[in-house]
Protein backbone atom coordinates (compact mmCIF):
# COMPACT_ATOMS: atom_id res chain seq x y z
CA UNK A 1 0.00 0.00 0.00
CA UNK A 2 1.61 3.29 -1.11
CA UNK A 3 0.99 6.93 -0.23
CA UNK A 4 -1.16 7.54 -3.32
CA UNK A 5 -3.47 4.68 -2.30
CA UNK A 6 -3.66 6.01 1.26
CA UNK A 7 -4.38 9.54 0.00
CA UNK A 8 -7.05 8.28 -2.39
CA UNK A 9 -8.64 6.21 0.36
CA UNK A 10 -8.73 9.21 2.70
CA UNK A 11 -10.52 11.30 0.06
CA UNK A 12 -13.04 8.50 -0.53
CA UNK A 13 -13.59 8.20 3.25
CA UNK A 14 -14.26 11.92 3.65
CA UNK A 15 -16.64 11.98 0.66
CA UNK A 16 -18.63 9.00 1.99
CA UNK A 17 -18.76 10.41 5.53
CA UNK A 18 -19.92 13.84 4.30
CA UNK A 19 -22.66 12.26 2.16
CA UNK A 20 -23.76 10.11 5.11
CA UNK A 21 -23.81 13.17 7.39
CA UNK A 22 -25.86 15.18 4.84
CA UNK A 23 -28.40 12.45 4.13
CA UNK A 24 -28.73 11.31 7.74
CA UNK A 25 -28.55 14.51 9.81
CA UNK A 26 -28.55 14.03 13.58
CA UNK A 27 -31.86 15.34 14.85
CA UNK A 28 -32.54 16.26 18.45
CA UNK A 29 -30.40 15.68 21.48
CA UNK A 30 -31.21 14.07 24.79
CA UNK A 31 -34.62 14.39 26.36
CA UNK A 32 -35.69 13.18 29.80
CA UNK A 33 -37.53 10.27 28.20
CA UNK A 34 -34.53 9.29 26.09
CA UNK A 35 -32.17 9.46 29.05
CA UNK A 36 -34.45 7.36 31.24
CA UNK A 37 -35.00 4.76 28.52
CA UNK A 38 -31.27 4.35 27.94
CA UNK A 39 -30.37 4.33 31.64
CA UNK A 40 -32.99 1.61 32.21
CA UNK A 41 -31.45 -0.41 29.38
CA UNK A 42 -27.93 0.05 30.67
CA UNK A 43 -28.73 -0.55 34.35
CA UNK A 44 -31.46 -3.21 34.20
CA UNK A 45 -30.84 -4.30 37.80
CA UNK A 46 -31.54 -0.91 39.32
CA UNK A 47 -35.24 -0.53 39.93
CA UNK A 48 -36.39 3.03 40.40
CA UNK A 49 -39.48 5.17 40.08
CA UNK A 50 -39.11 7.31 36.97
CA UNK A 51 -40.70 10.30 38.71
CA UNK A 52 -38.21 10.24 41.58
CA UNK A 53 -35.09 10.30 39.39
CA UNK A 54 -33.46 13.72 39.13
CA UNK A 55 -32.23 14.32 35.60
CA UNK A 56 -30.04 17.26 34.59
CA UNK A 57 -29.87 17.66 30.82
CA UNK A 58 -27.45 20.00 29.04
CA UNK A 59 -29.26 22.83 27.23
CA UNK A 60 -28.14 21.50 23.82
CA UNK A 61 -29.17 17.95 24.76
CA UNK A 62 -25.53 16.91 24.51
CA UNK A 63 -25.26 15.14 27.85
CA UNK A 64 -27.15 14.42 31.03
CA UNK A 65 -26.60 13.34 34.63
CA UNK A 66 -29.24 11.21 36.30
CA UNK A 67 -29.30 10.82 40.06
CA UNK A 68 -30.95 7.60 41.14
CA UNK A 69 -33.51 8.04 43.92
CA UNK A 70 -31.49 5.74 46.18
CA UNK A 71 -28.13 7.48 46.73
CA UNK A 72 -26.48 4.09 47.08
CA UNK A 73 -27.15 3.49 43.38
CA UNK A 74 -25.01 6.51 42.48
CA UNK A 75 -25.50 8.36 39.20
CA UNK A 76 -25.71 7.66 35.48
CA UNK A 77 -24.01 9.87 32.93
CA UNK A 78 -25.56 9.83 29.46
CA UNK A 79 -24.01 11.41 26.37
CA UNK A 80 -25.34 11.82 22.87
CA UNK A 81 -22.80 10.29 20.50
CA UNK A 82 -23.92 11.13 17.00
CA UNK A 83 -27.49 9.87 16.84
CA UNK A 84 -26.97 7.30 19.62
CA UNK A 85 -26.74 7.42 23.40
CA UNK A 86 -23.89 6.20 25.57
CA UNK A 87 -24.42 5.59 29.28
CA UNK A 88 -22.03 5.12 32.17
CA UNK A 89 -23.17 4.07 35.63
CA UNK A 90 -21.05 5.46 38.44
CA UNK A 91 -21.83 3.81 41.72
CA UNK A 92 -18.89 5.23 43.64
CA UNK A 93 -18.92 9.00 43.19
CA UNK A 94 -15.41 9.35 44.54
CA UNK A 95 -14.19 7.95 41.20
CA UNK A 96 -15.45 10.95 39.21
CA UNK A 97 -14.52 14.60 39.26
CA UNK A 98 -17.18 17.25 38.78
CA UNK A 99 -16.13 20.84 38.24
CA UNK A 100 -17.62 24.09 37.02
CA UNK A 101 -16.74 25.36 33.57
CA UNK A 102 -17.62 28.59 31.72
CA UNK A 103 -21.07 27.48 30.63
CA UNK A 104 -21.95 24.73 33.05
CA UNK A 105 -20.40 21.64 34.47
CA UNK A 106 -17.71 19.16 33.47
CA UNK A 107 -17.79 15.56 34.63
CA UNK A 108 -14.62 13.56 34.27
CA UNK A 109 -15.22 9.83 34.66
CA UNK A 110 -11.50 9.02 34.26
CA UNK A 111 -12.45 6.45 31.65
CA UNK A 112 -10.37 6.02 28.47
CA UNK A 113 -13.52 5.14 26.51
CA UNK A 114 -15.55 8.08 27.77
CA UNK A 115 -13.73 11.37 27.52
CA UNK A 116 -14.75 14.29 29.74
CA UNK A 117 -18.46 15.07 29.59
CA UNK A 118 -19.43 18.74 29.48
CA UNK A 119 -22.97 19.92 30.20
CA UNK A 120 -24.24 23.40 29.35
CA UNK A 121 -26.49 24.24 32.29
CA UNK A 122 -28.15 27.33 33.75
CA UNK A 123 -26.30 28.60 36.83
CA UNK A 124 -28.92 27.48 39.37
CA UNK A 125 -28.82 23.93 37.98
CA UNK A 126 -25.02 23.89 38.12
CA UNK A 127 -25.20 24.83 41.79
CA UNK A 128 -27.90 22.21 42.44
CA UNK A 129 -26.00 19.47 40.68
CA UNK A 130 -22.68 20.39 42.27
CA UNK A 131 -24.36 20.40 45.68
CA UNK A 132 -26.02 17.05 45.02
CA UNK A 133 -22.85 15.46 43.74
CA UNK A 134 -20.94 16.81 46.71
CA UNK A 135 -23.60 15.58 49.14
CA UNK A 136 -23.68 12.21 47.42
CA UNK A 137 -19.92 12.12 47.58
CA UNK A 138 -19.97 12.74 51.31
CA UNK A 139 -22.62 10.05 51.74
CA UNK A 140 -20.73 7.49 49.73
CA UNK A 141 -17.08 8.29 50.25
CA UNK A 142 -16.08 4.86 48.98
CA UNK A 143 -17.25 1.80 47.11
CA UNK A 144 -20.92 1.27 47.66
CA UNK A 145 -21.15 -2.47 47.25
CA UNK A 146 -23.22 -4.01 50.00
Amino acid sequence: MDLVQIGGSLIAIIVLAVIAARLFPVKGGLTRERVLRNVRRFCPDIEFEVVSAKVFIGTKGEAAVLLFPDPHDGVAVATALGDRVVVRHIEDLSTITASRNKSGLTVDTHDFTQPTVALDLPEEQVSDLMALLTTEQSISGGPLHA
Binding site: A20, L23, L81, G82, R84, V86, V87, D111, F112, Q114
Partner: protein, 306 residues
Protein backbone atom coordinates in the same frame (compact mmCIF):
# COMPACT_ATOMS: atom_id res chain seq x y z
CA UNK B 1 6.48 -19.02 -2.64
CA UNK B 2 3.20 -18.97 -4.55
CA UNK B 3 2.41 -15.47 -5.83
CA UNK B 4 -1.30 -14.84 -5.28
CA UNK B 5 -3.08 -11.46 -5.27
CA UNK B 6 -4.57 -9.93 -2.10
CA UNK B 7 -8.30 -10.21 -2.85
CA UNK B 8 -9.36 -7.65 -0.22
CA UNK B 9 -7.14 -4.92 -1.70
CA UNK B 10 -8.67 -5.58 -5.12
CA UNK B 11 -12.17 -5.39 -3.66
CA UNK B 12 -11.71 -1.94 -2.05
CA UNK B 13 -13.25 0.07 -4.95
CA UNK B 14 -16.29 -2.23 -4.89
CA UNK B 15 -16.57 -1.74 -1.09
CA UNK B 16 -16.60 2.04 -1.54
CA UNK B 17 -19.27 1.91 -4.26
CA UNK B 18 -21.45 -0.49 -2.28
CA UNK B 19 -21.27 1.66 0.89
CA UNK B 20 -22.31 4.63 -1.26
CA UNK B 21 -25.15 2.61 -2.77
CA UNK B 22 -26.36 1.56 0.70
CA UNK B 23 -26.25 5.17 1.93
CA UNK B 24 -28.54 6.24 -0.94
CA UNK B 25 -30.74 3.17 -0.57
CA UNK B 26 -31.12 3.86 3.16
CA UNK B 27 -31.89 7.51 2.51
CA UNK B 28 -34.58 6.61 -0.04
CA UNK B 29 -36.19 3.68 1.78
CA UNK B 30 -35.26 4.06 5.45
CA UNK B 31 -34.03 0.46 5.42
CA UNK B 32 -30.44 1.33 6.28
CA UNK B 33 -29.19 3.93 8.73
CA UNK B 34 -25.93 5.84 8.80
CA UNK B 35 -24.41 8.65 10.83
CA UNK B 36 -21.59 10.77 9.43
CA UNK B 37 -19.05 10.51 12.26
CA UNK B 38 -19.76 6.83 12.81
CA UNK B 39 -19.22 6.15 9.10
CA UNK B 40 -16.03 8.19 9.15
CA UNK B 41 -14.66 6.24 12.14
CA UNK B 42 -15.56 2.88 10.61
CA UNK B 43 -13.83 3.73 7.34
CA UNK B 44 -10.74 5.18 9.07
CA UNK B 45 -10.51 1.96 11.09
CA UNK B 46 -10.67 0.03 7.81
CA UNK B 47 -7.87 2.06 6.26
CA UNK B 48 -5.77 1.81 9.44
CA UNK B 49 -6.31 -1.93 9.50
CA UNK B 50 -5.01 -2.25 5.93
CA UNK B 51 -1.96 -0.14 6.76
CA UNK B 52 -1.16 -1.95 10.01
CA UNK B 53 -1.79 -5.28 8.28
CA UNK B 54 0.70 -4.39 5.55
CA UNK B 55 3.28 -3.30 8.16
CA UNK B 56 3.00 -6.47 10.24
CA UNK B 57 2.19 -9.04 7.55
CA UNK B 58 5.80 -10.20 7.37
CA UNK B 59 5.54 -11.55 10.93
CA UNK B 60 2.59 -13.83 10.20
CA UNK B 61 3.83 -14.82 6.74
CA UNK B 62 7.35 -15.57 7.98
CA UNK B 63 6.14 -17.68 10.90
CA UNK B 64 3.58 -19.57 8.78
CA UNK B 65 6.12 -20.38 6.05
CA UNK B 66 8.64 -21.51 8.66
CA UNK B 67 6.08 -23.95 10.12
CA UNK B 68 4.97 -25.17 6.68
CA UNK B 69 8.50 -25.58 5.29
CA UNK B 70 9.82 -27.46 8.31
CA UNK B 71 6.92 -29.42 9.75
CA UNK B 72 4.28 -30.03 7.02
CA UNK B 73 3.16 -33.67 6.91
CA UNK B 74 2.30 -33.68 3.20
CA UNK B 75 3.07 -31.58 0.15
CA UNK B 76 -0.42 -30.86 -1.14
CA UNK B 77 0.67 -28.56 -3.97
CA UNK B 78 -1.62 -25.97 -5.50
CA UNK B 79 -4.33 -27.93 -7.35
CA UNK B 80 -7.88 -26.49 -7.40
CA UNK B 81 -9.08 -28.94 -4.75
CA UNK B 82 -6.36 -27.70 -2.37
CA UNK B 83 -7.90 -24.21 -2.63
CA UNK B 84 -11.34 -25.69 -1.82
CA UNK B 85 -9.93 -27.66 1.11
CA UNK B 86 -8.00 -24.61 2.32
CA UNK B 87 -11.13 -22.44 2.12
CA UNK B 88 -13.16 -24.85 4.27
CA UNK B 89 -10.36 -25.43 6.80
CA UNK B 90 -9.56 -21.71 6.98
CA UNK B 91 -13.25 -21.00 7.62
CA UNK B 92 -13.18 -23.53 10.47
CA UNK B 93 -10.03 -21.88 11.86
CA UNK B 94 -11.77 -18.50 11.47
CA UNK B 95 -14.71 -19.79 13.54
CA UNK B 96 -12.40 -20.65 16.46
CA UNK B 97 -10.29 -17.50 16.14
CA UNK B 98 -13.51 -15.49 16.16
CA UNK B 99 -14.98 -17.43 19.06
CA UNK B 100 -11.80 -16.96 21.08
CA UNK B 101 -11.85 -13.33 19.95
CA UNK B 102 -14.99 -12.99 22.07
CA UNK B 103 -14.04 -15.32 24.91
CA UNK B 104 -10.41 -14.42 25.62
CA UNK B 105 -9.73 -10.79 26.56
CA UNK B 106 -6.33 -10.74 24.84
CA UNK B 107 -7.96 -11.57 21.52
CA UNK B 108 -11.01 -9.43 22.31
CA UNK B 109 -8.67 -6.42 22.66
CA UNK B 110 -8.10 -6.68 18.92
CA UNK B 111 -11.56 -7.85 17.82
CA UNK B 112 -13.63 -5.42 19.94
CA UNK B 113 -12.99 -2.72 17.34
CA UNK B 114 -15.23 -4.51 14.85
CA UNK B 115 -18.10 -4.41 17.38
CA UNK B 116 -17.62 -0.84 18.57
CA UNK B 117 -20.20 0.85 16.33
CA UNK B 118 -23.80 1.28 17.41
CA UNK B 119 -24.73 1.18 13.74
CA UNK B 120 -24.94 -1.86 11.50
CA UNK B 121 -24.35 -1.12 7.85
CA UNK B 122 -21.78 -1.91 5.16
CA UNK B 123 -19.33 0.59 6.64
CA UNK B 124 -19.36 -1.45 9.88
CA UNK B 125 -17.88 -4.34 7.89
CA UNK B 126 -14.81 -2.21 7.26
CA UNK B 127 -14.37 -1.28 10.95
CA UNK B 128 -11.48 -3.68 11.46
CA UNK B 129 -8.71 -4.13 13.99
CA UNK B 130 -5.28 -2.53 13.87
CA UNK B 131 -3.74 -4.99 16.29
CA UNK B 132 -4.71 -8.45 15.09
CA UNK B 133 -1.08 -9.54 14.67
CA UNK B 134 -0.46 -8.97 18.38
CA UNK B 135 -2.76 -11.81 19.39
CA UNK B 136 -2.23 -15.58 19.20
CA UNK B 137 -4.89 -15.88 16.47
CA UNK B 138 -2.52 -17.20 13.81
CA UNK B 139 -1.85 -20.31 15.94
CA UNK B 140 -5.34 -21.58 15.06
CA UNK B 141 -4.25 -21.82 11.42
CA UNK B 142 -1.16 -23.90 12.18
CA UNK B 143 -2.93 -27.26 11.69
CA UNK B 144 -3.66 -26.25 8.08
CA UNK B 145 0.02 -25.50 7.42
CA UNK B 146 1.03 -28.71 9.20
CA UNK B 147 -1.32 -30.63 6.93
CA UNK B 148 0.64 -29.27 4.00
CA UNK B 149 -1.36 -26.38 2.56
CA UNK B 150 0.97 -23.59 1.49
CA UNK B 151 0.36 -20.45 3.61
CA UNK B 152 -0.15 -18.22 0.52
CA UNK B 153 -3.21 -20.33 -0.37
CA UNK B 154 -4.59 -20.02 3.16
CA UNK B 155 -4.07 -16.22 3.19
CA UNK B 156 -5.74 -15.98 -0.24
CA UNK B 157 -8.74 -17.94 1.05
CA UNK B 158 -8.87 -15.77 4.19
CA UNK B 159 -9.11 -12.73 1.89
CA UNK B 160 -12.04 -14.25 -0.02
CA UNK B 161 -13.65 -15.09 3.34
CA UNK B 162 -13.36 -11.47 4.46
CA UNK B 163 -14.87 -10.26 1.18
CA UNK B 164 -17.81 -12.64 1.69
CA UNK B 165 -18.41 -11.15 5.12
CA UNK B 166 -18.74 -7.63 3.72
CA UNK B 167 -22.27 -7.95 2.32
CA UNK B 168 -23.77 -9.50 5.46
CA UNK B 169 -23.29 -6.24 7.40
CA UNK B 170 -26.63 -4.77 6.44
CA UNK B 171 -30.15 -4.25 7.72
CA UNK B 172 -31.38 -3.82 4.16
CA UNK B 173 -31.72 -7.59 3.66
CA UNK B 174 -34.15 -9.35 5.97
CA UNK B 175 -33.75 -13.09 5.32
CA UNK B 176 -32.26 -15.12 2.50
CA UNK B 177 -33.97 -18.32 1.22
CA UNK B 178 -34.20 -21.00 3.96
CA UNK B 179 -31.59 -23.33 2.46
CA UNK B 180 -29.15 -20.42 2.24
CA UNK B 181 -29.86 -19.33 5.84
CA UNK B 182 -29.20 -22.91 6.91
CA UNK B 183 -25.86 -23.30 5.18
CA UNK B 184 -24.32 -19.84 5.07
CA UNK B 185 -23.70 -16.82 7.23
CA UNK B 186 -26.26 -14.17 6.32
CA UNK B 187 -27.21 -10.60 7.30
CA UNK B 188 -29.76 -12.02 9.76
CA UNK B 189 -27.26 -14.36 11.49
CA UNK B 190 -24.57 -11.72 11.64
CA UNK B 191 -26.95 -9.03 12.98
CA UNK B 192 -27.38 -11.33 15.96
CA UNK B 193 -23.60 -11.56 16.28
CA UNK B 194 -23.32 -7.75 16.44
CA UNK B 195 -26.22 -7.31 18.88
CA UNK B 196 -25.70 -6.51 22.54
CA UNK B 197 -29.13 -7.71 23.69
CA UNK B 198 -28.40 -10.26 26.46
CA UNK B 199 -30.31 -12.91 24.48
CA UNK B 200 -27.94 -12.58 21.55
CA UNK B 201 -24.53 -12.31 23.30
CA UNK B 202 -21.71 -14.61 22.15
CA UNK B 203 -23.47 -16.22 19.20
CA UNK B 204 -22.99 -16.82 15.48
CA UNK B 205 -19.20 -16.70 15.09
CA UNK B 206 -19.24 -18.10 11.56
CA UNK B 207 -17.31 -16.59 8.71
CA UNK B 208 -18.93 -18.20 5.67
CA UNK B 209 -20.37 -21.59 6.69
CA UNK B 210 -23.05 -21.46 9.39
CA UNK B 211 -22.56 -25.17 9.99
CA UNK B 212 -19.78 -24.50 12.55
CA UNK B 213 -22.13 -22.60 14.87
CA UNK B 214 -24.75 -25.32 14.55
CA UNK B 215 -22.10 -27.98 15.18
CA UNK B 216 -20.43 -26.29 18.17
CA UNK B 217 -23.62 -25.02 19.83
CA UNK B 218 -23.24 -21.26 19.34
CA UNK B 219 -26.10 -20.65 16.90
CA UNK B 220 -28.87 -18.25 17.91
CA UNK B 221 -31.50 -17.22 15.34
CA UNK B 222 -32.71 -13.64 14.98
CA UNK B 223 -36.14 -13.23 16.59
CA UNK B 224 -38.68 -10.87 15.04
CA UNK B 225 -39.90 -10.06 18.55
CA UNK B 226 -36.49 -8.88 19.71
CA UNK B 227 -34.84 -6.43 17.31
CA UNK B 228 -31.06 -6.32 17.50
CA UNK B 229 -29.46 -3.40 19.30
CA UNK B 230 -25.92 -3.01 18.01
CA UNK B 231 -22.69 -2.20 19.77
CA UNK B 232 -20.86 -3.16 22.92
CA UNK B 233 -22.25 -4.04 26.31
CA UNK B 234 -20.60 -0.79 27.41
CA UNK B 235 -20.52 1.40 24.32
CA UNK B 236 -17.64 3.69 23.54
CA UNK B 237 -18.25 7.37 24.26
CA UNK B 238 -15.89 8.51 21.51
CA UNK B 239 -15.32 8.46 17.76
CA UNK B 240 -11.55 9.02 18.16
CA UNK B 241 -9.94 6.25 16.03
CA UNK B 242 -6.95 5.92 18.35
CA UNK B 243 -9.15 5.42 21.38
CA UNK B 244 -11.32 2.99 19.39
CA UNK B 245 -8.25 1.02 18.29
CA UNK B 246 -6.49 0.84 21.64
CA UNK B 247 -9.09 1.11 24.41
CA UNK B 248 -9.20 -2.54 25.42
CA UNK B 249 -5.38 -2.81 25.39
CA UNK B 250 -5.29 0.20 27.73
CA UNK B 251 -7.88 -1.51 29.93
CA UNK B 252 -5.87 -4.75 30.06
CA UNK B 253 -2.67 -2.86 30.83
CA UNK B 254 -4.33 -0.95 33.71
CA UNK B 255 -5.84 -4.13 35.16
CA UNK B 256 -2.58 -6.05 34.95
CA UNK B 257 -0.72 -3.11 36.50
CA UNK B 258 -3.06 -3.05 39.49
CA UNK B 259 -3.49 -6.83 39.84
CA UNK B 260 -2.47 -8.36 43.15
CA UNK B 261 -1.24 -11.78 41.98
CA UNK B 262 0.31 -13.38 38.90
CA UNK B 263 -2.75 -15.58 38.58
CA UNK B 264 -4.95 -12.50 38.29
CA UNK B 265 -2.55 -10.91 35.80
CA UNK B 266 -2.75 -14.01 33.62
CA UNK B 267 -6.52 -14.20 33.86
CA UNK B 268 -6.92 -10.52 32.93
CA UNK B 269 -5.35 -11.61 29.65
CA UNK B 270 -6.83 -15.07 29.15
CA UNK B 271 -10.25 -15.02 30.86
CA UNK B 272 -13.36 -13.71 29.10
CA UNK B 273 -13.84 -9.93 28.81
CA UNK B 274 -15.44 -8.56 31.98
CA UNK B 275 -13.72 -11.07 34.28
CA UNK B 276 -12.38 -9.63 37.54
CA UNK B 277 -11.11 -11.44 40.64
CA UNK B 278 -13.92 -9.95 42.76
CA UNK B 279 -16.73 -10.23 40.21
CA UNK B 280 -17.21 -6.45 40.21
CA UNK B 281 -17.65 -6.35 36.42
CA UNK B 282 -19.79 -8.59 34.30
CA UNK B 283 -18.82 -11.17 31.72
CA UNK B 284 -21.29 -11.97 28.94
CA UNK B 285 -22.21 -15.19 30.80
CA UNK B 286 -23.07 -13.15 33.91
CA UNK B 287 -25.12 -10.66 31.85
CA UNK B 288 -27.01 -13.50 30.24
CA UNK B 289 -27.80 -15.27 33.52
CA UNK B 290 -28.88 -11.97 35.13
CA UNK B 291 -31.19 -11.45 32.16
CA UNK B 292 -32.58 -14.99 32.51
CA UNK B 293 -33.14 -14.41 36.25
CA UNK B 294 -34.98 -11.15 35.56
CA UNK B 295 -37.16 -12.87 32.99
CA UNK B 296 -37.94 -15.70 35.43
CA UNK B 297 -38.86 -13.21 38.14
CA UNK B 298 -41.07 -11.28 35.71
CA UNK B 299 -42.92 -14.40 34.63
CA UNK B 300 -43.56 -15.27 38.32
CA UNK B 301 -45.07 -11.83 38.97
CA UNK B 302 -48.83 -12.14 39.19
CA UNK B 303 -50.33 -10.27 36.28
CA UNK B 304 -52.61 -7.50 37.48
CA UNK B 305 -56.23 -8.34 36.89
CA UNK B 306 -58.25 -5.77 35.06
Amino acid sequence: MLDLPDPTQLAVPAFVLLVLAEIFYGWKTGRARFEGKDTMTSLIMGLGSTVSGALTAALAIGFSYWVWANFALFDLGAAWWVFVLAFVLDDLAYYWIHRMGHRMRWMWAAHVIHHSSQHYNLSTALRQTWTGQFTPGILFKMPIFLLGVEPAIVFFCAGINLIYQFWIHTEAIDKMPRWFEYLFNTPSHHRVHHANNPRYLDANYAGVFMVWDRMFGSFIPEEKTEPCRYGLVTDLGTFNPLRVALHEWVGIFKDIWHAATWRDRMLFLLAPPGWTPDGSRMTSDMIRSAWLERNKAKSKDPTPAD
